[in-house]
């Protein structure tokens, strides 16, 4: 394509298939804490 470059495999659709196992870290979105925000968090699966 000449006009559009897609930069990622879409992970959001894949995220529906994920089990929601809860193994990921607890997150604090306010960043006054040591844990991750969701956007930079990786799935443990």
């Amino acid at each position: 394509m000449r006009h559009i470059v897609t930069i990622n495999r879409t992970s959001l659709k894949d995220s529906l298939k994920k089990p929601g196992c809860g193994e990921c870290q607890a997150s604090c979105q306010s960043a006054c804490k040591t844990s991750c925000t969701v956007a930079n968090q990786e799935c443990q699966n």
Binding site: I7, A26, S35, C43
Partner: protein, 459 residues
């Protein structure tokens, strides 16, 4: 109905994001303009509107490309998530925050804990209370193998002997139950001598050290008890720790306020001082003070993030990279939908414990009686309150359900919402605007890296 898309320009690129699929595309100027017309006009009208500026064959080509990615489900995707039913009833506690000291050896003007005592008097957590809190965590963590204990305050190093004893106690107990505890700590660095630095480096999986940046900026807010600035005391200690720490996880964490709207200078200052892991965050203050961030500052703040993103990339190119907490984003292996619908687990995955053994949904609610969840002796008593936190997610909040950033942000911070708007479910707009800008920067940086790798970046 089609979902909205989000377009923006950053780092010299035109970017379009499809919020629901998560697809991100870099597009040329023609496509950028075409997307404004695409949904409301047929092809011929679009050609008519753009033909003075672009070649008809180019318009056709761009139009077809848009059609093609749309058919692949990478643009204007419908929101398939809004009706899915996610239950959090089976949640377990994953992490606790131990406020081991409701006391502090600094008097920072913007402290959310009222300079350390959370308005409840200066107190240290007794070892016995800490033990019970760890028991509470282990008991309430279900089948989870890895749990976290964060030592917080006030200033946790004021109660360091108890911290060390609790680390040992937690290890033994976790072992009995086939679990591992990851320890983290947040400190202002004042008491971080060689011995403590070595201990913390060896035993803690993440360490957050508070420092605001340039000396005069730091000293204007982070004051010692006698009113003098803290920079000269903490900087050498923090620097020493960072050197010792190497690549292991840590953050130098600063706060910016209305007094340093040029906060990118503070980030760069820290980077110049050899600090590689940097997080500088907007202050949250409701009272009308000279440092409170207000709507009128927003434009300048957003521009400052733009500037920071440019510098970030520049330094990457120069071989002097640093990492800025909010510019990190995972576009590929991100979390599951459950996590994306509600990021913060305050009250049901995460809880804070006071020196008296009282349990609150998180460190920011400590001291607010109406948010008391229970105690280490009795466990969670206020189930109704816990459910309120559990039931919330992005689709329960009007603002979030329409927001393009909802799957990255996952609903923001309950405490900010409450502190500013008096309702855990009412997003704090100013913070949302800044958050969205940080996502734009983070996405653009990823896109930039990817285009560079493939040799197709054109400014």
């Amino acid at each position: 109905m089609h979902s909205i898309i989000h377009k923006f320009r950053q780092l010299g690129m035109n970017i379009v994001l499809d919020p629901v699929s998560g697809a991100i595309h870099v597009i040329d100027d023609l496509t950028y303009e075409l997307l404004d017309l695409y949904l409301d006009n047929d092809f011929d009208t679009i050609v008519e509107l753009l033909k003075d500026k672009y070649d008809e064959s180019d318009i056709k080509e761009a139009y077809d490309e848009i059609e093609s990615i749309r058919q692949k489900g990478l643009l204007y995707s419908e929101d398939v998530y809004k009706d899915i039913d996610v239950s959090r009833k089976d949640s377990v506690i994953k992490a606790i925050c131990l406020n081991v000291a409701h006391d502090c050896n600094l008097r920072c003007s913007y402290c959310f804990a009222s300079t350390g005592d959370f308005k409840g008097g200066r107190k240290l957590m007794p070892y016995e209370v800490g033990k019970k809190a760890i028991d509470f965590l282990i008991k309430n963590s279900g089948n989870r193998k890895i749990v976290e204990v964060d030592f917080f305050g006030g200033e946790p190093l004021l109660n360091f002997d108890v911290v060390k004893k609790l680390v040992d106690y937690g290890r033994e107990e976790a072992k009995k139950y086939g679990k591992t505890i990851k320890y983290t700590i947040t400190t202002n660095g004042v008491l971080l001598d060689e011995e403590k630095a070595t201990y913390i480096n060896e035993n803690f999986s993440n360490v957050v050290l508070s420092l605001d940046g340039r000396k005069d900026i730091n000293d204007a807010m982070r004051k010692r008890i006698d009113g003098s600035g803290s920079y000269d005391v903490i900087f050498p200690k923090i620097k020493n720790f960072v050197l010792k720490r190497g690549n292991k996880e840590h953050y130098i964490r600063g706060t910016f306020t209305a007094k340093n709207l040029d906060f990118s200078e503070d980030v760069l200052y820290l980077a110049d001082m050899g600090i590689r892991e940097i997080s500088v965050e907007p202050v949250v203050e409701k009272e009308d003070t000279d440092y409170t961030l207000k709507q009128e500052h927003l434009k300048e703040i957003l521009k400052e993030y733009d500037k920071l993103a440019e510098k970030y990339v520049e330094r990457m190119e120069d071989g002097r990279p640093f990492s800025f907490y909010h510019f990190k984003i995972s576009l590929d292996n991100g979390p599951c939908i459950k996590k994306r619908l509600q990021g913060c687990g305050a009250g049901f995955e995460y809880a804070a414990v006071t020196p008296d053994g009282e349990i609150y949904p998180c460190h920011q609610f400590v001291g607010n009686e109406s948010f008391r969840l229970g105690s280490v002796d009795c466990g969670i008593e206020n189930k109704e309150l816990q459910e309120k936190f559990m039931e919330s997610d992005i689709y329960k909040r009007e603002e979030c359900s329409k927001c393009w950033a909802r799957f990255y942000c996952s609903g923001g911070c309950f405490a900010n919402n409450y502190n500013i708007n008096g309702d855990i479910n009412k997003p704090y707009e100013l913070s949302c605007e800044m958050q969205k800008k940080r996502f734009e920067c983070a996405i653009a940086i990823k896109a930039y890296e990817m285009l560079k790798e493939n040799d197709i970046y054109e400014k």
